[in-house]
Structures are given as structure tokens and as C-alpha cells.
């Protein structure tokens, strides 16, 4: 009796997929989380400067505003010199500015008493933001920014 030899089917080579899936899921999770690695950013909401809005050119109401001037020292253009109400000079001491603003608030000024931040030409953006922070920390809510002047 003749024997019929069956040809063996060649085995299909299949690479192991499981480790590959694991790596790919790691990549997916990494890219999903990646945008969150940035430092926490927040936002300050502000409104249009009054020099170019509907009240541009009109005389502002004569109110005794609290004026915070930010001057650029001659010897260091990256630094700042803080002047409050044209008579109190704090140098770069924002803590002193905060204490002075809190003192003004304690004397009975309302929270919506106008505060004007008036930076000189060349004042760095960060000092203006810090001055704004001090006014907010002193619980003032009506804070304006002047357009820089020489």
C-alpha cells in the first residue's frame, strides 16, 4: 500500500505583537500628557486702555487717584524705581509698595477707588504686572494703566 506523504504547511512566522502594543500605548499616554507639562499659566482679564476707546480724548473725571509711577533707573534699565503718589519712593521694593497701599486702604478708601499705574518709557512688562499684583493684593479693584511717557 503506497503511503501518501502529506506536505507540511510551512509555519507562519508572526512577530510577537504584545510588546509592540505596550510601547505604542506608552507613546500615546506620553503625547496625551505632554501639553500638561507646561508651567501653570493664568490670565489677567483687562479692558481697553481709555486712550483709545469711547472716552479717548475726553477729560477724565477729576478724582484723587492713587498713582503708582514706575521709573527706569539710569544705571540699570532692567530694574525699576517705584514712586507712589509722587512723594513716596520705594526703589524696587514691591513689599513696601504693598504695605503703603494697604495703609491707604485701611484709612477707609473704597475698593473701587481708582488706582493708576503709570510706567515710564522702557519699564519692563514684568514690573507693570507686579505693580498690578500689589494693587490687587491690597484689595483695590479699579486699576488703570497709563500709556508710557518719557
Amino acid at each position: 500500500m503506497a503511503k501518501v506523504m502529506k506536505r507540511e504547511q510551512p509555519r507562519k512566522m508572526q512577530p510577537p505583537m504584545t510588546p509592540m502594543i505596550d510601547c505604542i500605548f506608552q507613546l500615546i499616554i506620553f503625547f496625551m500628557l505632554m501639553p500638561n507639562f507646561q508651567a501653570g499659566e493664568g490670565y489677567l482679564t483687562t479692558n481697553l486702555p481709555t486712550t483709545s476707546g469711547p472716552v479717548a480724548g475726553k477729560q477724565q473725571k477729576d478724582v484723587q487717584r492713587i498713582k503708582i509711577e514706575l521709573e527706569v533707573p539710569d544705571d540699570d534699565d532692567k530694574s525699576v524705581n517705584i514712586i507712589l503718589n509722587e512723594n513716596q519712593v520705594f526703589g524696587r521694593n514691591f513689599g513696601g509698595l504693598l504695605a503703603a497701599l494697604q495703609g491707604l486702604k485701611a484709612r477707609g478708601l473704597a475698593a473701587d477707588h481708582p488706582v493708576l499705574i503709570s510706567p515710564w518709557m522702557g519699564t519692563r512688562h514684568k514690573w507693570v504686572v507686579t505693580a498690578f499684583d500689589m494693587a490687587v493684593a491690597a484689595r483695590f479693584t479699579n486699576i488703570h494703566f497709563a500709556v508710557p511717557y518719557d
Binding site: 505583537m17 509592540m20 502594543i21 505604542i24 500605548f25 507613546l27 500615546i28 503625547f31 496625551m32 505632554m34 501639553p35 508651567a39 501653570g40 499659566e41 493664568g42 490670565y43 489677567l44 482679564t45 483687562t46 479692558n47 481697553l48 486702555p49 486712550t51 483709545s52 476707546g53 514706575l70 532692567k78 521694593n93 514691591f94 513689599g95 504693598l98 510706567p119 518709557m121 522702557g122 519699564t123 519692563r124 512688562h125 514684568k126 514690573w127 507693570v128 504686572v129 507686579t130 498690578f132 499684583d133 490687587v136 493684593a137 494703566f145 500709556v147 508710557p148
Partner: protein, 157 residues
């Protein structure tokens, strides 16, 4: 004659076909790669100022224009990767014209345009003021200024 039950030939373990799954996973990877690149188009590398008054907000509830002010020594305004002229001049400058167009197209869609300013901490403030004036020409009144949120323990006064 006894019947001998033959074992079924199909007794192999059930295995999933991995190839379509790999395809789908690669599609997802490509999607996340591209979306992260689109988000970064709007944002330039700047060192933001610190602020204790800043609050986290969700910008995606509005249609946004992100205005970046970079290069403290020679401030440049960059919007969607494109440098724009923002100098205060008679009539519209490039930035104010762009903001006007964007505002019109957003309003036509029944939405509100929100302007987000990302200025480097060391740019002169007059650059920020010039950008605000350009936005004023486009009659945009609401702004968000981006800062890093300062935690109480990080305060250095």
C-alpha cells in the same frame, strides 16, 4: 461497529488579529502628534511674568487670537507664526487690520473674539501698550494677559 468521534480539527487557541489594531493605534499617534503641533503654532517661547492675581481660565470657550510679544531688545509681535507690524501710526497698522478682519469673521459666525496676550516679562511696556492700542482700533475691549501663576511659597519680595 463503534463510531469513533473525531476530535474537531479546530481546537486551536483563539487569537486576535493584531494588524488592524496596530493601524488604529498609529492613526491615534499621528493625530496626537499633529494636534500638539497645531497648538504650538499659536504659542511662541516666552518667559512670562509672574502674577499672584492671575486665574486659570478656559480659553477654548472663545475664539482666540494669541498675540505673542518676543525679543525684549527689539520687540516683535508674532501671531500664528507670522511677525506683524504693530507700530502706532496714522490709520491701521498690520496688527490692527488683522484683528479687525478676525473680529468680523468671528462675529459672522455668531461668536466672540477673545485676545490673549503673551508678552515676555522683559519687553518694554510700551510694546504692550502699542499692541493694546492696535486692538483698540479694532474695537476689541476684552483682553487676557497671560502670566505664570505664582504660588505663595514662590513669592520673593
Amino acid at each position: 461497529m463503534a463510531h469513533v468521534k473525531k476530535k474537531s480539527a479546530n481546537t486551536g487557541a483563539v487569537s486576535m488579529n493584531m494588524t488592524p489594531m496596530i493601524d488604529i493605534v498609529f492613526q491615534l499617534i499621528i493625530f496626537f502628534l499633529l494636534t500638539s503641533q497645531f497648538q504650538q503654532l499659536e504659542i511662541e517661547q516666552v518667559t512670562l511674568p509672574m502674577s499672584i492675581a492671575a486665574m486659570p481660565k478656559d480659553p477654548f470657550q472663545f475664539r482666540n487670537v494669541v498675540i505673542n510679544i518676543v525679543n525684549p531688545d527689539n520687540p516683535e509681535v508674532i501671531v500664528l507664526g507670522r511677525t506683524m507690524d504693530y507700530r502706532v501710526i496714522e490709520g491701521d497698522n498690520e496688527l490692527s487690520a488683522y484683528l479687525k478682519d478676525r473680529k468680523l469673521s468671528v462675529i459672522e459666525g455668531g461668536e466672540k473674539l477673545n485676545v490673549i496676550l503673551r508678552a515676555d516679562a522683559m519687553v518694554p511696556y510700551e510694546a504692550v501698550a502699542s499692541v493694546m492700542l492696535a486692538a483698540g482700533r479694532a474695537e476689541i475691549q476684552g483682553w487676557w494677559i497671560t502670566t505664570e501663576m505664582e504660588k505663595d511659597e514662590d513669592k520673593k519680595r
